[in-house]
Amino acid sequence: MTGALALAVGSVASTAPASPVVAQVTAIEASLLAFVVLTALATALARDVLAAVIVFGAYSLGMAALYTFYRAPDVALTEAAISAGVTTVLLLLTLAKTTRIDHDVAFESVNLPAAGAAGFLFAGLLLTMGDIPAIGSPDAPIWSNPDVTQWYLTETYAQTHVENTVMAVLAAFRGFDTFGEAVVVFAGGVAALIVLHREVFA
């Protein structure tokens, strides 16, 4: 895993060494980003709830592809399985219990004050873009940090004998946190039983 990561970073650094962010965007990346933005807008504006749920699933799939593109396969797997798969199914299941309303128009009319507020927020976020390190830059603090990232990458195999650093962090270095998260998932199931006034799952 460490070798693969070093190789990945090496390839990124060789193709785009410390150039501005815009210059790094490839065609695949640009189309994925455009797809994600368009599906997000369609999700927000779709008048029909069923259409919004389906487009939201497409958005999650696009995000999963984007995570894969940025070499975060663990996050991509989670996004694809949970967001694109399970969440979409659960939302569809809930919609199947409701009555579908036929709408004449496909999209909501845009609320201009809300759109203006969102535009201001977007512009404010754009102002911070100059300080964000380039994608895949070896100088990015999150990568070059010797106390956290590099320490985990160098010490994971020596201490836990597994190749997947993400899993080593989750299951070994931060195992107690993961235990808490697993119990939270379990408690979520119990809470759903209580909220829906049921005593059995199936």
Partner: protein
């Protein structure tokens, strides 16, 4: 069976009870699946997983969907197992693998009907997965504590021959996290498919429980809640809160009044 199917054209709760009564053997083996459906879906069904033909539901016997799911499901399930078991050497782990395995169950349910799948995959399995996973994770964490170490100190695990750190982590992923996630997701799926359990105003639009006990309980709780709410609104008037609350709700029966009085 055919009589009941014809009767359900008249969407009425009385017709539903007739349908339940006339399909004696069907209701006996599937007594928990019938009453939770809204009236327009209450068509008698047989217990076979692949013989689901109901009107008004999105799940019909499709010559495309069912064979496709039959072909795809083993591979998708194997992929989930691979993601779970191979999490130490490749991307993935218990959370992702468990979610994929739960998604396989969703897929089967959409092809063969949710109620049939729920009967096929008993509640015991779902609960055993979730509870067993949580207990296994806690147990693996507590074994090193019992041996004098810290919680989840893998190198103290008594695993012979194999590397205790690597296979301790694998054990946490495989028997801890993956069963919790898959069990809870399946449970959420079946719960949402069944709907909200209440009288009339919930998703299910009818009596949702098997033996009527929850209904009674439910009715009591709701009838308690109604005068309480009016009482709260009337508290501002002063000492006549009880009278105002009972007089304000004309539909309160004697049981309600007495149970409301018992609470106070």
């Amino acid at each position: 069976m055919t009589d009941a199917a014809d009767d359900t054209d008249m969407t009425d709760t009385a017709t539903d009870s007739e349908a339940d009564a006339s399909t004696g053997e069907g209701a006996a083996e599937r007594d928990d699946a019938e009453p939770d459906l809204p009236p327009h879906r209450a068509v008698p069904r047989s217990g076979r997983l692949d013989s689901e033909e109901r009107q008004g539901t999105p799940y019909t016997e499709s010559q495309v969907i069912m064979p496709t799911v039959k072909v795809v499901a083993p591979f998708a399930f194997t992929y989930g197992l691979f993601i779970t078991f191979h999490g130490s050497g490749s991307p993935g782990g218990g959370f992702q693998g468990g979610a994929i395995m739960a998604a396989v169950v969703f897929m089967i349910a959409f092809a063969f009907g949710i109620e049939s799948t729920r009967d096929w995959l008993a509640n015991t399995v779902v609960v055993a997965l979730a509870v067993g996973g949580a207990l296994a994770f806690a147990g693996i964490g507590l074994v090193p504590v019992a041996l004098g170490g810290a919680f989840l100190q893998y190198d103290l695990l008594p695993i012979p021959v194999l590397d205790p750190v690597k296979y301790g982590m694998e054990a946490v992923e495989v028997v801890g996290i993956a069963p919790i996630v898959s069990g809870v997701l399946m449970g959420l799926f079946f719960l949402l498919a069944r709907g909200f359990n209440s009288d009339g105003d919930g998703f299910g639009n009818g009596s949702l429980d098997e033996d009527g006990s929850i209904d009674e309980q439910q009715r009591d709780e709701e009838s308690i809640d109604v005068p309480d709410a009016t009482d709260d609104a009337a508290v501002a008037d002063g000492g006549h809160a009880d009278d105002a609350g009972r007089a304000g709700d004309g539909a309160v029966d004697t049981e309600t009044a007495s149970s409301g009085g018992d609470r106070r």
